[in-house]
Structures are given as C-alpha cells and as structure tokens.
Amino acid sequence: MDSRQIRIALTGNPNSGKTTIFNHLTGTRQKVGNWPGVTVEKKEGDIEKFGCQLKIVDLPGTYSLTPFSIEEIVARDYILEDRPDVVIDIIDASNLERSLYLANQLRELDCKVIFALNMADLARSRGYKIDGEKLSELLGVPVVFTVGNKKEGLDELLKTAVEYAESGTGIPESRKVRYSKDIEKAISEVREELESRIGPDFPYNRRWTAVKLLEDDTIIKQRLEKLLGTDSAQVLEKAQQLRDKLADLFHEEPEIVMTDERYGFIAGILKEVVTTSSRRRVDISRNIDLVLTNRFLGFPIFIFFIWAMFQITFTVGAYPMAWLDAGISALSSGVDALLPPGVFESFLLEGVIAGVGSVIIFLPNIVLLFFCIALFEDTGYMARAAFLMDRIMHLIGLHGKSFIPMLMGFGCNVPAIMATRALESRKDRILTVLITPFMSCSARLPVYIVLAGTFFAAYAGTVIFLLYLSGVVVAIVTGRLFRVILLKGEDAPFVMELPPYRLPMLKSLLIHMWDRSKMFLKKMGGVILVGSIIIWVLSAYPKAIDYSVDYGARMDQVHAEYAEKIASAPAAEARKLEEERTARIADLRRAKRIEHAEKSYLGRIGRFVSPVFEPIGMDWRGSVAILTGFVAKEVVVSTMGVLYAAEGDAESDALHRALRNSGMTSLAALSMMVFVLLYLPCLATVAVINRETGTRWMILSVVYTTAIAWLAAFFIYQGGRLLMA
C-alpha cells in the first residue's frame, strides 16, 4: 500500500462549522497541543484513507489572513512556511460573501485550495441557491458541498483533497484576483524590483509578496529583510514610493482600496453564482436574541445562566468529589495497612497521595465547568455574554469576554485562567490572567471559615463577604493600573460577529471538555506532585532532630508510673487513671510534633522568614502555614492544625480553641486572611499562568500579588494597632 503522507490544513471563519468537520474527520485520533511560542490551540489528527496517510491540521478560525491577531498569524504562517499539500477552506454557505474574503486571500497565497461549502442545507432553507460548478469554474478551485453536523459530503471532500494534492496544477493564472489598473501596475513594478534581487529559491509567491509589500505588511517586510539582507532596502523603498503614489491617487491607503476591490470582486462572483429565491424567512436565531439580549430580560437571564453553571459545577460536582475523596482515603488506608511504617510509607501517604489527591479532587468541578463553558461557546451564547457585559468590563479596560474567566475564578483559578483562551487579543488575555487570582477561589474559603469563625464569630459572614469584595476591588484597580502602565496602547477592536445560535453537538462538547480536562490533569498533576514532594521533604526532614526533651523516655516514664498506680488502684479509679495516662501521652506526642515541625527544614525556613511576617502580625507558625499554602491554599488550614497543636480534625472546635489560646489577636487574624486572599496564587495556578502567558508574566504575577498582599496586611495590622492604641 502506498503510504504517502498528505498534509491537509483546514481553515475557515469562526463559526463556519470547521471544528465539527475536523472532529468528524479525525474522531478520537486527534492531538491537541499549542502552536509553537503562542497559546493558540493546535489540533492535528492522523487518519488513513484511500491508501494515503492523511495528516489533518485544524488552523485557528479567522476572518482574514491580515496578520493582526495571533490566530491570523499562526494560520498564515502555517500555510506559508509549512506548505501543506492542500488547504480546505470551510465556507459557511449561508454567509458566502464574508467567507469569500478569506477564501480569496487563500487563493492569492498560491496554495492548493478546496472550498467546502458547508451548511448548504441551511443556506437553501434561507432561500440561497449556490451554483457550485459555476463557482468552481470562475475561481479555478474545486468546490464540494458538505453538511458537517450530518457528516454529509466529508468522504467526497477528502477524496477531492487527495486527488487535488496528487495532481500538479494549482489555480490557473487566468483565474487570479485582479485589481484595478493602477494597482495592478504598482504590483508589477514591485514584483519586477523584487525579482531582480531574489534567487530561484525565494520561498513565497512573487505576486503575493508584491501585494503584501504594497499593503505595508510588517511581517512580510521583516521576512524580506531577513531573506535579502541589504538588498531588501531598494525593494521596500520602491514599495513605499508606490504606496505614497497610490495613496495620493485614491486619497486612501492602498490596503483599504485593495480591501474594497476584493469585496467588489466578491460581489461580482456572488451575482453569478447565487440566486436568492425569496426574502429572508423567519430568523430563529434573531428571535432567540430578542429575548436573550433584551434590554430588560438580558441581564436576569445571563445571571441565571451563570448561577446555573455554578450550581452544576459545585453542587452536582460535590457528589463525584465525595466519591473521589472516599477513594483517596481508601487508597491511603490501604497503603497504610500494606506498608510498614517508615520513610517510604510517609512519602507515599503524605507526599504523593495527599498532594496529588488535593488536586485530583477538583477534577469533577473542572470537567463540569469546562462542559458548561463548551456549551456556552458551541451554542453561540458566549458572544452574547460578551455583548451584554462589554460595557462593564470596558471600564477596567477589558473585553466583555473577560467576564466569564474572572467569574470562574471564584470557583478555581486554574480553569479560569485556562478559559482566557476564548479571548482573542493577547493583551486582554494577559490582563485577565493577571487579575483573576484576586478572585477569591473556593480553596481560600476554609481559611476564612476557620479564622473568621474563631475571631469574628458573630460577624463571620460579613467579614468573609468583605474579603470577597476586596478581592474584586483589588482586581479592578490592578486592571486599570496595568492597562495604563504595562499593557498600554489601544484596545483590540471589539468588532465581532454574533453567530447564529446552534444546537450543540454532544460529541463536540465532550471532545472540548475532555481535551481541556486532560491538559489540566497532565500539567497540573505533574507540578503538584513535585511541589507536594518538596513540601513533604521539607517538613519531614531532618529525621534526626535534636529534641529539647527525650520524649520517648518521658513517655516510657509516664507508662511506668501509671502502670504502677493502676495496678495498685481499685477498679473504679483505674479507669480514670487510664484516661489520665492517655491524655498525658497525647500531650507529649503533640509537644513532640510541634517541636518536630519547628525544627524541620520547613520550620527553620518559617523562623528564618518570620521577620518579614512580623510587621503583619504573624509569628513563625503563621509564616509556615502561609508558606505551605503555596501548594494549595486550603493547606494553610491543615498546617495551622499541626502547628497550633489541635487534635484530630483541623476544622474542629479544637483548632478554634487552640488559635484563641495561641495569643493571636483578631487584628492579626484579619491581616492573615487578607494576606491569604491576595498573596501568590497556588502552585497549580502559577503553573498555568506560566503556561498561558510565559515566564515573565508569571514572575510579575507572583511578585505583584505577594507585594500587594503584604502591603494590604501591613496597613490593616499596623493601622489597626494605631487605632486601638
């Protein structure tokens, strides 16, 4: 069998049904990754068909190949540099005019393009009839009709693609896009200048390069400088001269004129291939929108959907979470029973299982949250959410779409930050990622419950509410600040399509959800595992601790003492004595545990850094608790449980009592809560920030959040002391 590999790239407008077609073509054999250097999802799938190996690459959905957004650059670069054998352009048949804009840019690029006229059934029901043969003839491009969600025409599409890839010819010269006389003249002049300076191995189509130079395409200019060195200067200068000339002639930048002419060309094509049989019939989508973005109903419905999303995520998610929790406990006790006590057992139990368990437990939440988000995206509601919220978000200098990730932050920052992928502009994405950690995630709640419950019993609810609110305020202030200082420049244009509502397909929802959850598990699991092991090592070592008291001997002593007393006491008193003995042994154990914690590496680090935390009212125990909170913020509670020597369950009354007796003031507690609210996000969040925005921004986020946390806590603690003095 011929094992020739054919590379097929899929392009198309957003909402053209491209992803559905890709999912049907590749099924479960798809790999999701990132395009090199950017956080745009790259999806590929290998399949075998007609005796060929087909590698199908799903390019980001774009309206154009003008290199303004990352998606557009990624898509264009793949076609330019990786030279796929065939490019399939998925065209929304009911939206032919706009789709043909991208289609024509592809034709100009001189690659082998096939048009897949998708959702032709929908177009027909709207009264458009498209003459595919005529379109194919006029543009010199094979045309295939498909109905993606019904899997119609996909085999034919692949067959056409394979045949086209194997045949030699591309688009015939006579079928290329033509511009008006003056522009054509300028194009050939630039082309001549270019051709006089390049060798035969020049990688790009010459006419196309000339067109791009006339359009002042910065990326192509840079590539040319790289390829030609100093020779490029004359070519660029020539192009600039001609640009000025054309601008003079048309009173308009050449790229605008050319965009106009492309649309003119498209209008001509449309006239020949489309027949509109009737005026537009009832537009269901429009009717839905009359309700969903209604002036009065829009917001209440939006709030209801968000509420429902949280309910599903956290209430429904609580059941599988409980099962997972039970499973992890069962695993721990199984390991406990199987292995002899010792370093390895402790490593497995407290390091690996406890650490990874603390992340796995969030999996149901994350899977459900991603399911809801995929539902919002696939139905088209996400664009309406942005439409509704944009006015408010714009106040912080953000796009309406930033609202959903920020809101999700209240649940868990990790999926929230991953959800910023829905944002088109990189600046918006970075800014949203940077302010999301100030949304108080659910892992911080246990800390508030313990501290506020202990020190502000009657007002605990109010205090916790104010903490959440402060987080939002800090996020807004940070957003405005960063927009002015770090991410300045004009906003990305908001202009976007409100795609028609569509019935989501379960398969595509599941693929979406699973892809993202898998990413969460893989990346976060690894980081958390390493982090938990480090924390475990720091708290378990050194093994040989120089205790101030020989606890073993003390315990033996107590045992001996009571053994004697019990033996000689009457039965009634013996039980009381036994209880007394248990209590004294427990006291000793606790004292030993505290001393161990204090003298472990972690305790030493805590003592070492405690001068930093002193001004905000925390002793070394608080410092250690906060350090361990880096793994996951709820760990702060369990560390406090150990250090403040509470017995049994960390959240029990014992911890409340122990905290109250520890000399911690309510002011210090408030300061600590504020610090926990704002300080550096947990390990998993830091890892995901690093992934989504790069190391520089990750470091900025870590430093900024911690600095803000310290300053806020400092003002609260010191200010409070001044007021109370």
Partner: protein, 79 residues
C-alpha cells in the same frame, strides 16, 4: 452621519470607514464596506455595544468604534 448616531430599527448604507488602521481593517473585514446596507438591530442593555445586521450576518461593535463609520440613513420601515 455617523453609525453611532443611528437609532435602533433604522436602516442605512455605509459611506466610508475611518479610524486607525487596525480598527478600520477589522471593520472592513467584517463586511462593513462602502455601499453595504445595514439595519440597526439593537443596542445592548447598557447602550453599548450595538448590534447590526449586514450582509446577512449579525455584527456587534462598540459605540466608540461606530464613530469611525460614516453612514447615510435609508428611508425604510421594515427591517
């Protein structure tokens, strides 16, 4: 007249697009080209952004972006 001056339910035709390059091209790419006819579908509940139908699709843009688009209103009562 500017696109941002148009009221809900009005129809019009695009005369020209100004503004900075990036915005301009984006607007053009979304089909708001010279001569194209549109219908103002609605303004968002907070009066910004706005939604219009043009070339059979629904496009939304901010009011301060719509300032860059020059239009002429059309006398028509149905949408």
């Amino acid at each position: 007249m500017r696109l941002s001056d148009m009221r809900e339910g009005q129809s019009g035709r695009i005369v020209g697009v100004g503004g900075d390059m990036r915005l301009r091209r984006r607007i053009l790419e979304m089909g708001l080209t010279r001569g194209a006819e549109f219908y103002i579908e609605k303004y968002a509940p907070l009066r910004d952004p706005m939604e219009l139908t043009i070339k059979g699709m629904h496009v939304s843009l901010r009011v301060n972006e719509a300032v860059a688009v020059t239009v002429e209103p059309l006398e028509r009562n149905n949408g």
